[in-house]
Amino acid sequence: MIGNKSLFLGAAIIIFFTFMALAAPFLTEYEPALIDGSNLLMPPSARHLLGTDSLGRDLASRIFYGARISLSIGILAVGVATVLGVFFGSLAAFYGGILDSLLMRLVDIMLCFPTFYLILGIAAITQPSVFNIVLIIGLTSWMQPARLIRSEILSLKEREFIQAAKAIGASNMRIILRHLLPNALGPVLVNATLGIGGAIMVESGLSFLGLGVQPPIPSWGNILMESKSTLGVAWWITVFPGLAILITILGFNFLAEGLKKKIG
């Protein structure tokens, strides 16, 4: 596995941030929401490793706890999208006919909307919460996995081992679950991994605009919200969350590339 550098690098980065998220309480003594009036906008120091924000909250702590939110939203949203996409896509591909035509038209229609603005619009009119964000991103990203699994299954369907499964009496459900999906999920997995990076990006964007995760719950995006007003005086509020987002997304991209090579 070491030979596959992308896979190794990607996995390393993601393990790093996952550890950060899980071990947050042990990595810092400060509460992420703890306001400290006497230490506003302090640059990185021995006491506050990454500095403090305009309310005196420890930035490092907010980033560690923020990892929890950003990573979980990313993974859950992609989970929703993938499950939905695989469900619709595989049924459409397997049964074909009108079902397939309808689904593909639905996909085309959904793809007409510029996704980010669609999400923005929905977020603007709904209650901002972690649950809602996961749903919104999930329900607007199922098209890609659906198309991927559909094209894989369409080509697999005619392969002899599927015909053989039919010949020995396997039911449609058995064929889909035991024969088609295990062989078709490869590209979907790669796409999902990339998608997590994308979902984190979307969540950060929403939170940055104030439509996502609401403070005091920290997310990398809403930490950046402050950076708008403090850019000149407190570079650390922009740089550190920005770096976290950048490196995490890179990590998922590397992982996806590594998986792609492995699946071949």
Binding site: I168, G169, N183
Partner: protein
């Protein structure tokens, strides 16, 4: 000798579809009014070149694809469950096994689906089947990619036999294998038939192979049966010009 199954006036047209609602705009006639009957315990040979429709015929026989018209008849006294009593071996051993399934799972699947043996006997039955096709139990946890073409074909046979079939349809089962392996497998097929009292429909373009194994022969060309008869008759006194051409090319 009783008739065990029959293809009656089978025709198959592959339609070409277009548009949102998959409207039919044309067709490819793969089979044209095929009549074929298989007697219990016999080896029926189907001789045809590529594109003749022989594989389509096999798939229609097993009801893997529907015929456009005509009937596939099974003797209700002999064949009670199609998916159990009639099995097929495909041509390409590299594509007939699920690459993500272990050999044990592949062979036990028919046992599970048709509940042929109780759960606790599945393992033993799979070992038995592996031995019958000349493989040992070490194959259990391996994947298809770890086996050669000839071995994969044997695994396919074990899978087919697991269902305890009465009829075996063999679609060019040895054509993709090396010459020496072909000869071994042919002997094996002949032995298997005797031992398990099977009925075969053996499809091949290789006349020498058909001559060795088949009792009764159908010759198919471009979707039509052009000649049929006992093996002796076909090889000694071919009547249709296509049959004569095939024999001439093979001998020349």
């Amino acid at each position: 000798m009783e008739k065990i199954l029959e293809l009656r006036n089978i025709s198959k047209v592959f339609s070409i579809e277009r548009g949102l609602f998959k409207k039919e705009i044309g067709g490819l006639k793969a089979l044209d009014n095929i009549n074929l009957s298989l007697n219990e315990g016999a080896v029926c040979g189907l001789v045809g070149e590529s594109g003749s429709g022989k594989t389509t015929l096999a798939k229609i026989l097993l009801k893997l694809i529907p015929a456009t018209s005509g009937e596939v008849w099974f003797n209700p006294n002999k064949i009670t469950r199609l998916r159990k009593d009639v099995q097929i071996i495909f041509q390409n051993p590299y594509a007939s096994l699920n690459p993500k399934m272990r050999i044990f799972e592949i062979i036990s699947e028919p046992l599970v689906i048709h509940q042929i043996v109780p759960r606790h006997q599945i393992k033993d039955r799979v070992i038995q089947l592996l031995n019958r096709v000349g493989l040992d139990a070490m194959a259990f946890s391996r994947y298809p990619r770890q086996f050669s073409g000839g071995q994969r074909q044997r695994i396919c046979i074990a899978r087919a036999l697991a269902a305890e079939p009465k009829v075996l349809v063999l679609d060019e089962p040895i054509s993709s294998l090396d010459l020496t392996v072909q000869a071994e497998m042919l002997d094996f097929f002949i032995l298997l038939k005797e031992k398990l009292e099977l009925t075969y429909l053996f499809i091949s373009h290789n006349l020498a192979v058909i001559k060795r194994i088949a009792d009764y022969i159908y010759v198919i060309k471009e979707g039509k049966i052009v000649e049929e008869g006992t093996s002796w008759l076909i090889f000694d006194q071919p009547k249709h010009i296509y049959t004569q051409q095939l024999l001439a090319s093979a001998k020349n």
